[in-house]
Symmetry: C2
Subunit: 148 residues, 2 copies
DNA sequence: TTCAAATGCAACATCGTAAGTTACATGAAA
DNA sequence: TTTCATGTAACTTACGATGTTGCATTTGAA
């Protein structure tokens, strides 16, 4: 089953942008992500609508983060992307007349709802600043390793 | 994203079989599930390999449950189906050289691993007997409602 | 013995959706 | 005015569950 990797993509792009001074172009980001600039624009467009990033056209244009890194959570990004389905497993029939299927659906829905609540809670706890800090930590560790 | 509904399907089929005395044919199950008999055979075949059901060919053949309802958990069924991916969201690149992407992947993987552990724990707690009991409860309630 | 009913299985076709691609319009700075 | 950038529509591709067709095989009953 093909997985939706847009959250992963925008996180990579945002951290990349956080490391840069000026705006970053779709072409640059596309090369980072190993994809196409149009895909970057399409995906980042969701974040622009949510006010998380801004884009400038023309010379010296590109994408900028227009929010405080500490204020943007993974949950907000997930919502900005349209809250795509979290699970690759689901019910066969969403509104069954059959009582047996209702029992099955209820059991699965309860379980997945609990897992989704957990995911959203964790997503709410993680900000871009957290990830940037983790990056800085790993970056320093990698530099230390290279010195020896 | 198209969802994998095989777990839902086999649960429906198994409960249907639990209500019946003799074996149930793929045709009957297919009509219950609103699908094709070949799809039923293909999907139930996984459960046969796991020893959860047995199939008989020829006249008076069909599918039987070959285990105690109280012994079969949703987790076993999920494993019998080949442990399909639970999540529709994933990393863009699974083994990135880029340190930024490693940070992103680690954050997402940790979160999803926690959610998957929760799901598997819940799956381990639910048996076919539990679902059958839930069905009996709802069935009785529905009959009571009809009487008034 | 013969026939009908059932599974087993291979070889396709279908479908939905994220991702990728092409093409062109638009805007901004040099 | 030229160049660099985004904005967007339209199309193709990739992929895996699902759906379908066809036929071989097994089994019980007439
Ligand atoms: S940060 Fe740009 S390639 Fe990973
Ligand atoms: S139990 Fe067979 S139709 Fe739902």
């Amino acid at each position: 089953m093909k997985r939706d990797s847009r959250l992963s993509s925008v996180l990579h792009a945002l951290l990349h942008m956080a490391e840069q001074d000026g705006p970053v172009t779709s072409d640059t980001l596309a090369e980072c992500l190993g994809t196409n600039p149009v895909v970057v624009r399409r995906t980042m467009g969701y974040l622009r609508e949510a006010g998380i990033v801004a884009s400038d056209r023309g010379h010296a244009g590109g994408w900028r983060i227009s929010a405080d890194l500490a204020d943007v959570t993974l949950r907000q990004l997930h919502e900005a992307l349209g809250e795509p389905a979290m699970f690759a497993i689901g019910n066969r029939n969403e509104n069954p007349a059959c009582l047996v299927e209702q029992v099955v659906n209820a059991a699965l829905e309860d379980t997945f709802a609990e897992a989704e609540a957990l995911l959203l809670e964790r997503f709410s706890d993680i900000t871009l600043a957290d990830l940037a800090a983790d990056f800085a930590r790993r970056h320093a560790a990698a530099r230390r390793r290279r010195k020896h």
